[in-house]
Symmetry: C2
Subunit: 182 residues, 2 copies
């Protein structure tokens, strides 16, 4: 097998898999975000700390995100719309998976690009029609991949990434979400 | 009713609701993201254009987001983890809803803060145990709200925001997601 350089440390991931087989408690992560209302429908969310491998962990830097609504919703467009963040998460999760699986299969990637489209009937959210769901109707992801592999191998790569993707699972299957006032 | 100044143009939203009652085709939106693999599990996603109200629309500026994995996953931590973007979307969607519903109900907000915690057993994603789901086990959102309203009215505010939230729906109910290679 040729040595490929996609930049994913697959050995570390395979080692982690072995370790976690016998230490399920270390695999329990809690990801966190803090959000603060600014004005109108504009808010900022901050991400830095999380829990995992049995202890508190931290990203190298704090990340801050602005969310708002577009001007056509009579808002100020100080950031992307909340639902668009789901598309960012989905694209980046599937892309990370493609890189990791390619590395594991000895496939050299040259470029991986994708477009994500989420169809959304906003009548649900606005309360125009209670039969219309509030979220996306459906989402389509289209990958364009240049790699040292056949079309068939590239399709298998994407399929395996989808199968393991945390965000793909979170969007295609229900999650229990509790919302409380402190 | 007192005049409250949360900064949400509720009249525009109520007008939009009336218009869309008779023009369901204008309510069909498509939100889009483009993603580009950088190196390892690091990718960048770009958001600017979307479709809605019968035509192409655009955010005022292009937004670019880095996604990566933390160093404890043997990655470079050039951005937040893909699944964390879902928490940003959830917090900001519920917060926007709180502001809009408060405005509609004549409740003056002083501050709205929230924390979101997503519990995640990473054994699913890593392929350690196929019985473990890949996404979140569950998510908890906790709001701290200072407003000219009783605890009961604040709880009702948050409940109404949750009911109408596009991202809450997207996470708690399944969405059809298609992944293709061009």
């Amino acid at each position: 097998m040729t040595t490929v350089t996609n930049g994913v440390n697959v050995q570390a991931l395979l080692d982690a898999r072995e370790v976690l087989k016998n230490a399920p408690e270390a695999a329990q992560f809690t990801w966190r975000a803090s959000s603060k209302w600014q004005h109108g429908v504009h808010s900022t969310a901050t991400i830095q700390n999380f829990f995992g491998l049995g202890g508190e962990q931290s990203h190298k830097t704090e990340a801050v995100f602005d969310a708002d609504h577009p001007e056509i919703f009579a808002a100020e467009d100080n950031g992307i719309t909340p639902i668009e963040f789901l598309l960012v998460g989905l694209a980046s999760c599937l892309t990370a998976g493609v890189a990791a699986v390619a590395q594991n299969r000895g496939i050299q990637l040259r470029s991986v690009e994708s477009t994500v489209e989420g169809n959304h009937d906003i009548r649900g959210m606005l309360g125009v029609d209670s039969d219309v769901r509030k979220g996306f109707n459906d989402i389509k992801v289209t990958f364009t991949i240049d790699a040292d592999a056949s079309k068939q191998d590239i399709e298998a790569l994407v399929a395996q990434s989808q199968k393991r993707s945390a965000v793909f699972d979170a969007l295609t299957n229900p999650t229990d979400v509790t919302v409380e006032v402190a």
